[in-house]
């Protein structure tokens, strides 16, 4: 482990060193280009694409020019207004103005700065600036390249050649441009935004547009880890603990029982294999939020299960499936089997058929019984092949919102837990409550970062331990 960590630090170190080296050479190159370049190149430093247009490479030149104009227009007309306030997130609060109406004087609300939009569009503007600098650098490099090409007496590629290369040599740019942009705007930007929110006091008391919020540094993180009366520390570790326990049981119980069911159906001599499979898979067909909500009501104190048990006289008082914390946790894990086994059964069925039959044959000749064959052949094979699948299942279960939210809603709550968390809340369901019910966005952002940390640690940690990663040929 030590060595690995050392390696990691070394890698990070060289990474940083390389980065600075790269910046250094880049700056040097920009200087050289300016010093050695002709006047067209030098004008291009200010008016992007000028050199390319003068050298008759119109498509590129105009492209650069359009980007520059669009960028300046964006900055002047929209971006700067927001970006200039990003340090304070706005200073003018809401106030009331009085107007005279037919019903007498009346106070009308006039909004001030909107911290939310300042942060959001401020970040967007910063990202655009970085992007612009990158394009500007391309523009400089392009000039340099064209000059060198001309010096060597070669021809600059024509517009037509440029465009047709987009369908061939540069097809990756064509295919990836749109998806990358989409991910950037609708995934990267929001994530950066929410990470920033973790360092502000944006919550129910500081709600845009009526109120301003501002930067508070690491206050939210210290609240998460403080154990005082108002701190989230005790609750956070309890929720985290249950999240891990849940993910463990939900993953491995489903895995083994699902595999057992698959083996059972695959057993020689069992007829109607397709029927059994269809019956199990039917549960997947009903949307989870309907079936789980129904099952949740079924197990309620006044639900179907309890009232039938009472009617038949099997119990004298109701079984508190959802109101007792421990029982609620067990019930959730058990009901999750109902959801998870069909999936696992489908996957396992496919894989089991792939195990080479001669392995079993030779084992049988050696006199192995069914159990030995399972533990020596089936299980190792399955674990090897499904290692990465198990890992994704595990991280998926860490964030399994539906099952928890629909079955117990995170409850029962307790005086021992703060921040409206309940005994069966996972970090994600807690995060959801904070966002939607409590509008406590700052703590939601902090918990979101924690969810990320937990997922990342588990994934990276386990990934390197997987047999199929260590030894790709292991089962050949």
């Amino acid at each position: 482990m030590d060595r690995k960590e050392e390696g990691l630090f070394k890698k990070a170190g060289t990474g940083i060193a390389n980065f600075f080296k790269w910046i250094g050479t880049d700056i040097k190159e920009i200087g050289v280009t300016f010093a050695e370049g002709d006047w067209k190149t030098r004008v291009s430093y200010l008016i992007m694409g000028f050199g390319s247009i003068m050298r008759k490479s119109f498509a590129r030149g105009i492209g650069f020019l359009v980007i520059e104009i669009a960028f300046i227009y964006y900055l002047v007309s929209f971006g700067w207004d927001y970006m200039k306030d990003i340090g304070t997130l706005g200073t003018i609060g809401e106030h009331k103005e009085e107007v005279l109406t037919k019903a007498g004087p009346m106070k009308v609300t006039v909004y001030g700065d909107n911290s939310f939009l300042i942060l959001l569009y401020g970040l967007l503007t910063i990202i655009f600036i970085v992007f612009f600098i990158f394009v500007w650098r391309l523009n400089v490099r392009e000039n340099r390249k064209e000059e060198l090409l001309l010096k060597e007496g070669k021809k600059i590629p024509t517009t037509k050649e440029d465009l047709s290369s987009l369908l061939d040599a540069n097809i990756d740019k064509t295919l990836l441009a749109l998806p990358v942009l989409g991910i950037f705007v609708f995934t990267v930007l929001p994530i950066i935004f929410m990470i920033c929110v973790a360092f502000t006091n944006y919550d129910y008391n500081h709600q845009a547009p009526a109120k301003l919020f501002t930067w508070v540094g690491f206050d939210n993180f210290s609240q998460l880890f403080s154990f005082g009366s108002n701190g989230f520390g005790g609750t956070f570790f309890k929720v985290l603990g249950w999240t891990l326990v849940w993910a463990f049981f939900a993953t491995f119980l489903n895995y083994f029982i699902g595999m057992a069911v698959a083996i059972l159906i695959n057993k020689k001599g069992i007829k109607l294999k397709k029927l059994w499979r269809t019956i199990l898979v039917m549960t997947i067909a009903i949307p989870q939020f309907v079936s789980l909500l129904y099952v949740s009501k079924m197990f309620a104190n006044d639900g179907l299960i309890n009232s039938y048990l009472m009617k038949w006289g099997w119990i004298s008082s109701t079984i508190p499936f959802w109101t007792n914390p421990t029982l609620a946790r067990i019930t959730i894990i058990v009901i999750n089997l109902w959801i998870g086994i069909p999936y696992m059964m489908l996957i396992a069925t496919g894989l089991l058929m792939n195990i080479p039959a001669d392995l079993y044959e030779s084992a049988r000749i050696d006199g192995a019984n069914a159990f030995q064959m399972f533990f020596k052949i089936t299980l190792p094979y399955m674990l090897f092949v499904t290692g990465p699948f198990l890992l994704t299942q595990f991280t998926g279960n860490l964030n399994n919102f539906n099952v928890i939210y629909l079955l117990s809603g995170g409850g029962p709550k307790s005086m021992k837990l703060s921040g409206s968390a309940g005994s069966t809340d996972l970090l994600v369901t807690w995060l959801y409550k904070m966002t939607v019910t409590d509008t406590n966005y700052r703590m939601a952002a902090v918990i979101g970062i924690m969810v990320f940390a937990v997922t990342a640690i588990v994934s990276l940690g386990v990934y390197n331990l997987l047999p199929s990663v260590k030894d790709e040929e292991g089962f050949q």
Binding site: D172, L176, F186, F193, I286, V290, V295, D302, Y432, F452
Partner: protein, 279 residues
């Protein structure tokens, strides 16, 4: 010596009997809630109210719930169409994007390729709900909330789907590169190879991608209700069902119609699965 096979046979018979018993038990457990939901859908709202009851078989069978669902009183038909539009658009667009991304990552090598894949991997580790409020306001800026919630939901689903390239890229990786090379020698461009060779070879993965994309919108109630709030014309089926099942105690409560609605979903999914040969 002659006894042993017989003993073995009996042993096997016993084993099979136990297996059948287990299978029947499992089937009962798995079908029970399903049957309950179906039975409940035939309960009459007028005489037995809408809520949870402590008996299984309805006292009066009626088709009221189904009638109500498709009558003008409920907006169910509209919500169903909304969902269908979303699901179809998402299925088509998402399939195109995932195919493009997978092909680019599988068959081309460019400088930022590893970095791009690693970044997407890391982005995938952030919980989706974290960014919900931010996405809402982003969409709102483009007028894609409330009245515009349907295109908005399509946009959100399609915008980030490139990150789910894993399965499809894995499939492309298994198509031998020698095919590409042969085509290159014949002078085909990469685009041509992609469109005329790779895609026809990957029918199963196209169906898989389209199906998973098609099914997801039917279950999205959290984000869909967050984006469409206060504008019932933009609800999808899931939002509507969830509201029926889970309305606060100030309002009426009609879960009986939920199973009716479910049937439609169930049928559409079931047909799709059968067509695609998953089952």
């Amino acid at each position: 010596m002659a006894k042993e096979p017989k003993l073995h046979k009996q042993h096997k018979k016993l084993g099979n009997a136990i297996a059948y018993i287990v299978l029947v038990l499992i089937s009962i457990i798995w079908l029970f809630p399903f049957v309950c939901i179906v039975l409940q859908s035939f309960r009459s709202y007028d005489t037995e109210l809408g809520g949870m009851v402590d008996y299984l078989v309805p006292k009066h069978f009626s088709l009221d719930n189904y009638k109500w669902l498709f009558s003008g009183d409920s907006q169910f038909v509209r919500w169903y169409l909304n969902t269908l539009i979303i699901a179809l658009c998402v299925a088509v667009l998402q399939t195109i994007i995932v195919l493009c991304v997978s092909y680019a990552l599988s068959r081309t090598r460019f400088r930022m390729r590893r970095a791009l894949m690693n970044t997407w991997l890391i982005l995938g580790m952030f919980p989706g709900f974290l960014t919900m409020i931010c996405l809402y306001f982003l969409l709102k800026q483009f007028h894609l909330t409330q009245e515009g919630a349907i295109p908005g939901l399509i946009l959100i689903a399609v915008a980030s789907c490139g990150m789910g390239y894993y399965v499809c890229k894995g499939f492309f990786d298994t198509i031998p590169k020698s095919l590409d090379e042969a085509a290159r020698i014949d002078g085909a461009s990469k685009m041509r190879i992609f469109l005329t060779m790779i895609i026809p070879l990957s029918k199963p993965i196209v169906i898989y991608t389209a199906l998973t994309a098609f099914i997801a919108p039917w279950c999205d109630y959290i984000f869909a209700s967050y984006v469409a709030f206060g504008y019932s014309d933009s609800y999808n089926v899931a939002v509507a069902l969830y509201r029926w099942v889970n309305t606060s105690d100030y309002q009426g409560f009609l879960p009986d119609s939920v199973p009716g609605a479910c049937w439609w979903q169930f049928l559409s999914r079931f047909c799709l699965w059968h067509c695609s040969g998953i089952m």
